[in-house]
């Protein structure tokens, strides 16, 4: 499996370097702003400083948002198909299930690393006074990670069904559009209801209001995640193994 994992990393290296660079730039900017808040221009402007402090929570999930997309198993699968590597594997005793399994394991390792980086980020932010809810933030991060893994695994499954690159783009567009369509009326409604309050207050109020529904999110994410793993290993791999014609 070592060689296959190395292959996955090599194929995703460009994207990984790009997102890590973006993350480094964002982090550097945040450090500069923070330094400015302590001993620079912003330190002299109490109102701006307080406003920035209040909104520091926005940065809690920055590593996840920037880094989580660095590895996409659907795109490496497409690379396997396009290069003829999948066809070569089909002529050997190497199982396609192992090929797909490597992608699933690689995704888990990668997203665990992103989770760990983000967890450190959350701790640092809380230490510098941006956020005190470490555990709640970690819980949200865990749900986000599981959900994101599940989405990528489901997209990988659809990619194995169609064996086409466009599946990823179509699926991602569909997820974003459908999510937007589902949440837009809800968000507009709530924004109107809570207009005039600060963002952090609105979020707290929303959290309270949605508390009964939120408890289902973790089990739902776990269920989606497990479904994604099983679908890929047992159904997706079989579909890829099938003979044409």
């Amino acid at each position: 499996m070592k060689g296959m994992i190395k292959k996955e990393i090599t194929l995703s290296k460009k994207q990984m370097l790009l997102t890590v660079s973006m993350f480094a730039v964002f982090t550097a900017l945040c450090i500069l702003v923070r330094l400015s808040m302590e001993c620079g221009n912003i330190a002299d402007d109490a109102e701006l400083r307080d406003h920035l402090m209040d909104n520091l929570w926005v940065l809690r999930y920055l590593p996840f948002v920037v880094l989580a997309f660095s590895y996409n198993p659907s795109l490496t699968l497409y690379g396997d198909i396009e290069s003829g590597f999948l066809r070569l594997c089909k002529t050997t005793s190497y199982s396609i299930r192992s090929l797909i399994g490597t992608k699933v394991i690689m995704l888990l390792i990668f997203e665990t690393c992103v989770f760990a980086v983000n967890a450190v980020y959350i701790v640092i932010l809380s230490l510098i006074g941006g956020d005190e809810g470490i555990f709640s933030s970690m819980a949200v991060l865990l749900k986000m990670t599981l959900f994101f893994c599940a989405v990528l695994l489901l997209i990988l499954f659809f990619s194995t069904v169609t064996e086409k690159k466009k599946t990823f783009e179509v699926a991602l567009t569909a997820v974003v559009t459908l999510s937007g369509m589902a949440f837009e009326p809800f968000l507009i409604n709530k924004m109107e209801k809570y207009s005039g309050r600060t963002d952090i207050d609105v979020l707290d109020l929303l959290r309270l209001e949605l508390a009964p529904a939120l408890k289902y999110i973790l089990p739902l994410c776990v269920l989606l995640f497990i479904s994604g793993v099983l679908l890929n290993i047992f159904v997706g791999a079989r579909l890829l193994e099938r003979r044409d014609g």
Partner: protein
Amino acid sequence: MNAIEISSLTKSYDGFKLDNISFNVPQGSIMGFIGQNGAGKTTTIKLLLGLIKRDSGSIKMLGLDNIEHEQEVKSQIAAVFDDIPFHDQLNAAQLSTVLADVFLQWDKAVYSEYLDRFNLPKKKKIGQLSKGMRMKLQIAAALSHHAKLLIMDEATTGLDPVVRNEILDIFLEYLQDDQNSILLSSHITSDLEKIADSVTFIDKGKILLTGVKDDIVGSYGVIKCKKSELKDIDKKDIISTRISDFGAETLVADRKLCEKKYSGITIDGTTLEEIMLFYVRRDKGEWTS
């Protein structure tokens, strides 16, 4: 023992049929699989490799059915395609690590030897290699896991004569072990003329000829005569006739018999390319070059 035994193999596509084909590749030999583009060579190879389903017939490779004993068969064969099946972003050194996962008997030392022998750079990305280098890399990979049977689909097509000769020499070296066999599909008959022990000729999904190359080439002949002399030749002996400004050339299947039958007429030896050319146009009877 035969390395490959194909019996009554049939596969139908929309507009194409591989029609009840049968031939064997003897172990320890190299068989040239010839035919024009679209004749059915690649379909046959895909069926051998289990990439497509067969409609009927049987395929035995190294004595085992290629579907019933799929894993066992696949662990002992190597496939070489007309285009390299590796990612452009990898280099030859990284490829070794990847293929060590894919092939059970991957031999890193042998692979490294081939890279040195072919002068292939280890750190250069595959996408930056020339067509010849890419093909050599593919062949190096195919020969580095102790496969007993090499199946090659147009592996020498598009390569310059120097590289082709280098590769053909490697194949002959591989055949020094009499357990090893090669099926080489190509429409470059000169390559097969040089190295093949036996030849199978496929056209429009049907096997026209199969057997020992020297016997086939030796038994066929080309009658060179004037157009007016054509009427003296029995139509049953003629495969097809090429008409040119200088006269007529007729391919006959039994050169010795025709020499006795048509004394006074010149019958020259022939080549695989000519046999292929005359056979492909057999429906026309007479054709101009």
